[in-house]
């Protein structure tokens, strides 16, 4: 147990270790992950309100430091930067030579990682670290990162992490996991669990004491409450087979009539990893660079092959995205590509809800 007034010591301990703190902050009324300089940067006393196509921040009655769910940002922007220089080269008489570039691999400490986002990081690990090839940038940033997870005290309005097995309690993979217990006039403290040796060492550097049974229980109750509040659900049993059987389902036409193919769902998704390469030169044409940047399977260009694109209709592009998350990903990486964070529902401008789309397809088989 760490008391609220001792919480700043945790951030100080991480700064002493050379970590660059990244965590939730308020910027222009929005919840974004960015540099943290101290506990005062955290959005104290705010909570999220989310619904399909809608996100608001509202004041809380208490002074919780982590009293909000997930916003539009996720940690992938630090581990897998949306735009990144892979190499640059100068033309020479015989060909070209690589030029040095500044490689910046900060040692991050992520403060306030929700359980769904922790699972999402592990899902991306399978893509960038566990295949035949390793992405060096992701690897360096990931292996150096210190993760302070936060168990959820309430369910996000669009979340369904419980049915994806990704929340509201953090699964192993964190260095430290916090459960914040707070009420308007009651005690304010954190139950802290160390998941790694380093997490234990950091905990050892800050004032703490063993939790009393009732403190433990209060924390458990809050996680339970989050689970009970969750309004959305995906039946994962047989889900891959269900979708594989229904590639020609009329529901794809229905959702295509609503989908703008804007790709917002992929930008906010914490597991979406698709990217493209941009080869550019300076004005003289003597220096060339290759940039990697996030790409979106909703664009027609995404599947372009000489002669035309493979997925032209919006129907096929939405179907690619949803079946990738919930079916083909399982065959590719052995897990779902969805952690139930609900961002794609909240940030969809027309409020398309993938849990509803899946349910509609499932119910058409078993009316």
């Amino acid at each position: 147990m760490v008391a609220r007034q001792d919480f700043p010591y945790l951030l100080e301990a991480l700064i002493r270790r050379g970590c660059q703190l990244m965590g939730p902050t308020l910027r222009r009324g929005d919840l974004v992950y960015g540099p943290l300089h101290g506990v005062e940067d955290l959005p104290r006393g705010w909570r999220d309100w989310q619904a399909p196509g809608s996100f608001r921040l509202q004041p809380r009655e208490d002074q919780a430091l982590f009293g909000y769910g997930v916003g539009q940002h996720s940690w992938k922007s630090f581990l897998f930067p949306p735009r990144q220089l892979l190499w640059q080269a100068r033309r020479t008489r015989g060909g070209f030579e690589f030029m040095p570039r500044e490689e910046d691999h900060p040692r991050y400490a992520f403060i306030g990682v929700h359980p769904c986002d922790l699972t999402a990081i592990q899902v991306q690990d399978k893509v960038f670290l566990e295949g035949a090839y390793v992405d060096p940038t992701y690897g360096q940033r990931r292996l150096g990162a210190f993760i302070v997870a936060v168990n959820c005290g309430h369910a996000c309005g669009t979340g369904f992490c419980a049915s994806m097995g990704a929340g509201p309690r953090a699964a192993p993979g964190f260095d430290l996991a916090l459960t914040e217990v707070v009420s308007p006039n009651g005690p304010h403290y954190f139950l802290v669990e160390a998941g790694t040796e380093e997490g234990g060492a950091v905990l050892g550097e800050i004032p703490h004491r063993p939790a009393a049974p009732e403190e433990w229980q209060a924390a458990e109750d809050r996680i339970k409450q989050a689970e009970n509040q969750m309004g959305r659900f995906v039946q994962t049993r047989g889900l891959k087979e269900l979708l594989y059987r229904n590639y020609e389902h009329p529901r794809w036409d229905d959702v295509a009539s609503r989908c703008l193919t804007c790709g917002n769902c992929t930008w906010v998704c914490p597991t979406c990893f698709c990217h493209t390469m941009e080869d550019v030169t300076d004005l003289t044409g003597e220096i060339a660079q290759r940039w990697r940047r996030l790409d979106v399977c909703f664009s027609v260009n995404y599947s372009y092959l000489h002669g035309g694109s493979v997925r032209v209709s919006p129907r096929s592009r939405y179907r690619q995205w949803l079946t990738h998350k919930l079916a083909t990903w399982v065959d590719q990486f052995g897990c779902f590509g969805c952690v139930g964070c609900g961002r794609c529902i909240t940030w969809c401008p027309v409020g398309i809800d993938l849990t509803e789309e899946v349910r509609a397809i499932g119910e058409s088989e078993n009316p």
Binding site: G95, F98, V127, Y133, F273, D279, H306, S313, D331
Partner: protein, 299 residues
């Protein structure tokens, strides 16, 4: 013959040669430079580039059916299958059709210039596992390019195989790749080569029509034949259908597929075909492993 239980994706050969044929594993993002030795025009819009490593000691060991990402300085990168002889790894041969900015820049390189190479990538034709069997090669258009390394491999180990037949189709006689080589292969007694075109002028003496029309001419023992297919989607679909009619089992048919690719490493997502990444699980697939996805539209 073990193609029944071990396809090219998981074959023994891949395991043992992994370090050799995936040298890109260490530096997957940065191209290595090769010098253009020779550019040869195959058809009005298709060119064969022969590349040599600046340091001749270092070759590029590859297996038949694999591809490289070729980079034209400042323009961009494109996935191109290797069409040279796997037993001569000091020369890297690619046949490229001009279809966009990158391929145009690659085709118009002058000898002595350097281009960037990442690779080799991907799964390959199961030429080693096919030993002791008859081999049928069916190619359409540019599809002969990724099959040529397999043909070289078979011919230099000819005694290890039963009969070998090549069926090759193109739109017109001008669209045929490697014409001199085809003539040479036709002259061999241990190889049967059938060439057909969709349309031909009156001086064309041989077949006119689609490749499937020539399949019955192949002397096939369906139980001891392995078929390698590469060509346009529609050609492969009909060829597979014919081969199945002739009694070939699905696990004896191999196809090479094409998709948009940006990384070659199974990370960029562009080459997905349902559950597979064409760049790392393919481009060569055992037919039964992808058949459910080949007939679906816009997947």
């Amino acid at each position: 013959m073990k193609t029944g239980d071990r396809g090219p994706e998981t074959g023994n050969m891949e395991m043992s040669l992994d370090a050799l044929i995936h040298p890109a594993a260490a530096q997957p993002m940065a191209p290595r430079q090769f010098l253009v030795q020779n550019v040869r025009r195959e058809t009005p819009d298709t060119f064969t580039l022969t590349l040599a490593r600046p340091n001749p000691e270092e070759g590029l060991i590859f297996a038949p059916g694999q591809f490289n990402m070729l980079y034209a300085f400042g323009v961009g990168e494109a996935p191109i299958s290797i069409s040279g002889d796997p037993d001569r790894p000091h020369l890297l041969v690619h046949t490229i059709r001009e279809v966009g900015n990158v391929t145009r820049a690659l085709c118009h390189q002058k000898p002595g210039r350097a281009i960037g190479v990442r690779g080799p990538f991907g799964a390959f034709w199961p030429v080693a596992e096919a030993q002791g069997n008859d081999v049928l090669v069916v190619a359409g258009g540019l599809g002969l390019a990724p099959l040529r390394p397999a043909i070289y491999y078979l011919l230099s180990r000819r005694a290890a195989y039963g009969s070998v037949e090549i069926i090759y189709g193109a739109r017109t006689p001008q669209d045929l790749l490697y014409r001199r080589e085809l003539e040479r292969w036709r002259g061999r007694f241990d190889l049967r080569v059938h060439v057909t075109v969709d349309a031909a002028p009156s001086d064309w003496k041989t077949n006119v029509g689609v490749v499937t029309a020539l399949l019955p001419r192949a002397r096939l023992d369906p139980f001891h034949t392995v078929a390698f297919l590469c060509g346009p989607g529609v050609m492969m679909r009909f060829t597979v259908r014919e081969l199945l009619n002739l009694g070939l089992k699905e696990d004896r048919i191999f196809v090479s597929l094409e998709r948009h690719m940006k990384c070659g490493l199974g990370m960029c997502g562009h080459c997905q075909l349902g559950p597979v990444f064409v760049c790392k699980d393919g481009p060569v697939f055992r037919y039964d492993r992808v058949k459910d996805w080949l007939d679906r539209r816009e997947v």
